[in-house]
């Protein structure tokens, strides 16, 4: 077996053991904090899929995340149960992505211009959601809240049992399960015939077209899958925080997702997850300890990452470890 593959399997096993064992050694507060890391990891996975595998640079993943969060909140609060709300959280961003994607890919928009349109769409959502405050703006029994957001978002309940919310630890395990499942599913998709076509299209669009591939359709499907994953993460976030607000549609958050992916590296699915964990952990730690200004540190890391490590951190780590293994033999 190739050293990289052994490393990957070993690392996955270790991480799984750590994740599953964590609630037994950590206090509840830490488990709750860990849960949010899992949630944003799922979001980073969506970026790893759309940008890393599909080659589509988009500012829009945060928008789909936000749509998922709002869909969950509105659905759960109106129907009193999270069962359908999760479905809505996946469905709404997917439909939005299908429409936007059709508009973009069938219009042959690509590169930086596509980036601009996705950025603009996020901004439109931000402006609209931010301004719908006041009692008149409601969906069902829920007031949209404008810049105040929607408080009192209910947690997930046990499937089929609306009166029984998931406690912190079970919710944590659900997050682990979802992260692992989504990762496995995307990994499988990546190596499936569909995934290999997507990668070929990313490598050279014209060549793929000349071989008969309808690249517009492939990119659309990639985009919709990414939106669905982001929407799922959004639902988890809304349930975790008990709150949704328009900040999720702002460019600061959109930028963060891109930073995570760039720092961790988009060549591998796990890269953006690594970037996300590192950057979020670092910002939290800096914020708590007031050692240096968070923004400056983040900015320096970001610039450094682009200039010195354009492929990201994960490939570098991988190289070190497998090189170390080789030398030991």
């Amino acid at each position: 077996m190739k050293p990289e593959r052994r490393l990957a399997i070993g690392a996955t096993a270790v991480i799984l053991v750590l994740l599953l064992g964590a609630p037994m050694v950590l206090d509840i507060a830490s488990v709750v904090n860990l849960t949010v890391f899992l949630i944003v990891s799922i979001l980073s996975l969506s970026m790893a899929w759309v940008w890393g595998v599909g080659g589509i640079f988009t500012f829009g993943q945060s928008a789909f995340y936000g749509l998922g969060a709002y869909a969950y909140a509105l659905c759960a609060m109106n129907f009193g149960s999270s069962d359908l709300a999760v479905g809505a959280a996946v469905a709404l961003p997917s439909v939005a992505a299908a429409l936007l994607g059709y508009f973009l890919f069938y219009g042959r928009v690509s590169g930086v211009y596509l980036g601009v349109i996705t950025l603009t769409t996020s901004l439109i959502l931000y402006h609209v959601v931010n301004s719908v405050s006041g009692a008149d703006f409601r969906i069902g029994i829920v007031s949209l809240g404008g810049y105040n957001g929607i408080p009192g978002v209910p947690p997930f309940n046990w499937p089929g049992r609306p009166g029984e919310p998931l406690d912190f630890v079970p919710f944590y395990f659900l997050a682990v399960l979802l992260l692992v499942s989504v990762y496995a599913a995307l990994h499988w998709l990546k190596s499936s015939p569909f995934g290999r076509s997507v990668i070929a299209i990313r490598e050279h669009e014209l060549r793929a077209e000349l071989l008969g591939y309808d690249i517009r359709l492939y990119k659309l499907v990639v985009f919709v899958i990414g939106a669905a994953v982001a929407g799922l993460a959004g639902a988890l976030q809304a349930a975790w925080a008990g709150f949704v607000g328009p900040e999720v549609f702002g460019i600061a958050f959109a930028a963060q997702i891109i930073i995570w992916a760039q720092v961790g590296g988009i060549g591998l699915l796990a890269g953006p997850i690594l970037g996300c964990i590192l950057v979020q952990a670092l910002t939290t730690w800096l914020g708590q300890n007031q050692i240096a200004d968070t923004q400056i540190v983040l900015g320096v890391i970001f610039v450094g990452s682009v200039l010195l490590l354009p492929a990201g951190l994960l490939p570098l780590l991988r190289g070190w470890i497998s090189h170390g293994q080789e030398e030991r033999r």
């Binding site: 950025l119 769409t121 460019i251 600061a252 923004q295």
Partner: protein
Amino acid sequence: MDPLNISFQLAYSIALLLLTSLGLAIVFGMMRVINFAHGEFLMIGGYACVLCTQAGVSLWVSIWIIAPLIVGAVGWFMERLVIRHLYGRMMDTILATWGVSLVLTGLASIIFGQQQRGIVAPLGSFELSGFRSSWYSVALIATAFVLLAATYAALRFTRAGLLARGTMQNAQMAEALGMHTGRVYAWTFAAGAAVSGIAGAALAPLTGAVPTIGATYVTKAFITVITGGAQALTGTVAASVMFGTVSELVANLATPVAGQVALLILAIVLLRLMPEGITSRFFRRSL
């Protein structure tokens, strides 16, 4: 609706977009670099203006001399340290300049604090058959067009502008002819930064200086320049006119937020119809 009022508001809206996008347009049009720290150039220019004026320097000197010198220098250093490693890699420049933007915003927060600093806009107000406004707003509109004209003239009619255009068109040829292309890039980027500095300084009396003000302008500037297309000067003017007009009209008919949203929707529609910007279809041979 009062035609004088509306015309003024339109002119102001267009001028504002133009002013805040021009520096970015220069850099994008000449170097195909998208500088996401552009907002911070505006911010630094604003601080230069406010602080110097508060220290007793004339407002006009602060805006037209001090601000461009300072921001131009910042731009020059940024080009030499960061940008020059990333030519041809547009995505990477976006990302790296975003990082620089975070650093600059953070530094400004530390050095100047989070509080907004302001100065009073000079020149007072006027009234014209029921229509009231401030002379400074008029000055701002004038500033936008003066800057635009100066940039166009510099590129078209000066030797430096010719050298810059030549290098941008064909760097290898320029080097073969003995031009130091690294220097041209650095100075062009610095020039774009200086223009942004002037713009930021000119705005400061109206908006005040605060570390986060960059974020307010950068996205719209970015959208305006990209929608304008590769021929950045003409493109940015075209985009500013269209966006300024639509956003102002809609804002008057509905709400300011609706105006913003209308601008954004128009951008999407334009980019969909002309996927490489306005000047990929019209004014293709312009500057």
